[in-house]
């Protein structure tokens, strides 16, 4: 619409003017319509002139006819005016429509042409790019093939070298592993023997710890009335037969009577029962008692 207005300013101006004229005419024609108005409720004094009725009627009839004729003419004229205006408006509208259609057609055509040009350009570019890509791909494929061939050659060479080295290494490793396995087996065997020996020692130790503790406990005269929770450590040195060389409090309880009773318990219990096996008896040469009444 705006496009049409801009392209046909004159037609628009005319149309506007026509509308204004028509509006003026309409307004004034309204005023033309006879209107008998009388202020409501106001009694206007009547000025009457007596005339002959017939005469009056004839005159009135004539007058009325004339008025009717004039009015008809006037109406015809207005209609004519209206027709003209309408025709003009119609013509203008048609012209405007036509112009709009033409402009639209032209625009569409231009767009179509432009699109076509673009499509062609794109197609060309694509074709070119494809050709280029193909060329490059072919080149790359060729290079790749060459490189692969080279790599394969090298790999084969390396593999051959590696295989030789591997074979050599493997032979060496196997020899080493054999040696190690043998060593481990020997060590395990020794460890197992050691463990069994240790178990035996522990077992015998435990047995004699029980004997010794029982004998010392039987000989421990706890001083009556000692405070609860006393604890002292007595270091003991024995000669192989179990006789006590020394029994000495190395960590006192704070109560000299309690400490003395602990030392004396060990002395009274002498000789302590110790095993004959020197490998076990050695644990009982120098050890500690902890006196800790429950």
């Amino acid at each position: 619409m705006w496009q049409v207005i801009r392209e046909n300013p004159r037609a628009v101006l005319y149309a506007l003017l026509m509308h204004i004229v028509l509006l003026v005419l309409l307004v004034f024609s309204l005023d033309w319509t006879p209107k008998i108005s009388r202020p409501a409720g106001q009694k206007v004094p009547i000025e009457a002139t007596l005339v002959d009725q017939r005469q009056l009627d004839a005159i009135a009839e004539r007058k009325l006819a004339e008025e009717r004729k004039a009015e008809e003419a006037k109406r015809q004229q207005a209609l004519e005016e209206q027709r003209k205006v309408e025709a003009k408006r119609k013509a203008e509208a048609e012209a405007k429509q036509k112009a709009e259609a033409e402009a639209k057609r032209k625009a569409e055509q231009a767009a179509k042409q432009k699109a076509e040009a673009k499509r062609k350009a794109e197609a060309a570019a694509k074709q070119k790019a494809e050709a280029e890509a193909k060329r490059k791909a072919e080149l790359a494929a060729k290079q790749k093939a060459e490189a692969e061939a080279e790599a394969k050659r090298k790999a084969e060479q390396a593999a051959k070298q590696k295989a030789e080295a591997e074979a050599k290494r493997k032979a060496e490793a196997e020899a080493a592993a054999r040696a190690r396995a043998e060593a481990e087996m020997r060590a395990q065997l020794e460890a197992e023997q050691g463990r069994l020996e240790e178990q035996r020692v522990q077992s015998v130790l435990g047995e004699y710890v029980g004997y010794i503790a029982d004998k010392v406990e039987r000989n421990w005269l706890r001083p009556p009335g000692s405070a609860a929770g006393l604890k002292c450590t007595v270091n003991v040195k024995l000669i192989p037969g179990g006789d006590v060389v020394s029994a000495r409090v190395v960590q006192g309880s704070g109560d000299p009577l309690f400490d003395d009773s602990a030392e004396k318990a060990v002395l009274r219990a002498a000789p302590l029962p110790v095993p004959d096996d020197p490998s076990i008896a050695k644990h009982f040469r120098d050890f500690n008692f902890v006196f800790k009444p429950l």
């Binding site: 522990q202 130790l205 435990g206 710890v209 029980g210 010794i212 503790a213 010392v216 406990e217 039987r218 000989n219 421990w220 005269l221 706890r222 001083p223 009556p224 009335g225 450590t233 270091n235 000299p256 009577l257 009773s261 602990a262 004396k264 318990a265 002395l267 009274r268 002498a270 644990h283 009982f284 120098d286 050890f287 500690n288 008692f289 902890v290 006196f291 800790k292 009444p293 429950l294």
Partner: protein, 430 residues
């Protein structure tokens, strides 16, 4: 379980690889009992037979304490009288911890020298050795003194053998009935008469310094309280009020005497300033309040009262105030004596028609019955608190007996004649 635990401990320590003394053995059980000791009869050098068997006196003392178990004479493997003669190995084989040897030598007529030595058998060394001059009358006292020295060295606690016991005996019957106040050694030997009367004598009480004894006598047909000097025998009357004059008890500071008087119509506890004889009434109760005993700090007294319906022990501050009931077990708890450290109360505990000596531990509130007589009475602590002397019924006659405070060892003191009542142990330092 114990063995398992023990084994665990030693294994762990062994594996931790302690280089020195890797093995540790736990000792958790022991024997609570008397320590074996050998007391060899003392050698004698002098004219005639030995005047006194000191070893027997010492052996009896140590045995009576309950802490020692002297080897019977027949088991003595040797009779050494000086250190050079001692072969410790012999005594170790008898499992005795200690050995006592000694020698009594006459220095002149009636004068002796007493030497003794105490040895540690297992360590093979002398612990103590002393020599004392003694007259023939002192030999028993010297033996008790040696007992004290041994006891203190081996138990860490002061001995109370060289102390005395005051007590009352009744002999004869009818018109010939005689009451005697005596003082004997702690083993009942060497009794000395303090006072004799054909009227009842009661309630002896030692002064804190052991020089005086307060007692009740009816010699003037009514109860009166006298204080008597033990050494000189001089005495003075301190209480002769109408009615009851009874149960005197010396304060630890020796300046006051707690006693029972009924001058106001009812037996109540009073405190008398000995010097001025000023009286202060401590209790006010329509029940009978009697048998006051001082706490060693002098701040309170324990007494017997039947205000609760039966005789029970109550404690009251020495300035008075509201008494607090101490005993609740049994229908009869009376005759209190407070231990020298203030931690225990010895008393007569009546239950099911028998009256026995019991000890109330004030800290734990536990009452322990120590004797098993039918009519045991008048408990009195030894001044070291380790023993209690009391009177017990032995076939219609009272005898003295001693019990260790833990109740483990009980022994009658055998030698008194007559019916023995109201033994009271003297303080130290007499």
């Amino acid at each position: 379980m114990r063995d398992m635990f023990r084994s665990l401990v030693f294994v762990l320590l062994l594996q931790s690889g302690l280089a020195h003394a890797g093995l540790t053995i736990e000792i958790t059980q022991g024997v609570e009992g008397a320590v074996p000791i050998a007391i060899v009869p003392f050698g004698w050098s002098g004219a005639g037979a030995a005047p006194e068997n000191l070893a027997a006196i010492i052996s009896s003392d140590l045995s009576r304490s309950g802490r020692f178990d002297p080897l019977p004479d027949r088991d003595l493997v040797a009779h050494p009288t000086d250190a050079a003669m001692v072969k410790f190995q012999n005594w170790r084989m008898l499992s005795v911890d200690n050995l006592v040897i000694g020698q009594v030598s006459q220095t002149s007529a009636g004068q002796y020298s007493v030497r003794f030595e105490l040895f540690d058998v297992y360590r093979g060394k002398q612990i103590i050795g002393y020599s004392f001059p003694a007259g023939s009358q002192d030999l028993r006292r010297v033996a008790h003194h040696i007992s004290d020295l041994i006891y203190e060295k081996l138990t860490g606690e002061k001995g109370a053998f060289n102390t005395q016991i005051a007590y009352v005996t009744t002999t004869g019957s009818g018109k010939g009935k005689t009451y005697t106040l005596l003082v004997a050694d702690s083993d009942g030997y060497s009794p000395q008469t303090i006072l004799r009367s054909n009227q009842p004598l009661m309630s002896p009480a030692w002064s804190a310094d052991g020089r005086q004894i307060a007692y009740v006598t009816f010699e003037n047909k009514a109860a009166e309280i006298y204080l008597q000097d033990v050494a000189s025998g001089s005495r003075r009357k301190v209480a002769s009020f109408p009615g009851v004059n009874g149960a005197p008890s010396w304060s630890p500071d020796g300046r006051r005497l707690a006693l029972t008087l009924s001058q106001d119509g009812n037996p109540e506890i009073y405190i008398m300033e000995v010097a001025s004889r000023a009286l202060k009434r401590l209790t006010t109760n329509p029940a009978i309040d009697t048998e006051p005993a001082w706490a060693p700090d002098g701040k309170s007294l324990v007494f017997t009262s039947d205000r609760g319906g039966s005789p029970q022990l109550y404690r009251i501050a020495s300035w008075g105030g509201q008494p607090q009931r101490l005993t609740f077990e049994g229908k009869y708890n009376a005759g209190a004596d407070i231990s020298p450290d203030g931690s225990k109360i010895a008393m007569v505990h009546g239950n099911n028609g028998s009256y026995r000596i019991a000890v109330l531990d004030l800290k734990s509130g536990v009452t322990r019955v120590l004797t098993d007589g039918r009519l045991d009475e008048s408990p009195s602590f030894s001044p070291n608190g380790s023993m209690i002397i009391y009177a017990t019924d032995a076939g219609n006659r009272g005898v003295m007996a001693a019990v260790s405070v833990d109740g483990r060892f009980r022994q009658r003191l055998s030698i008194q004649a007559g019916d023995v009542r109201e033994p009271v142990w003297s303080p130290f330092g007499k």
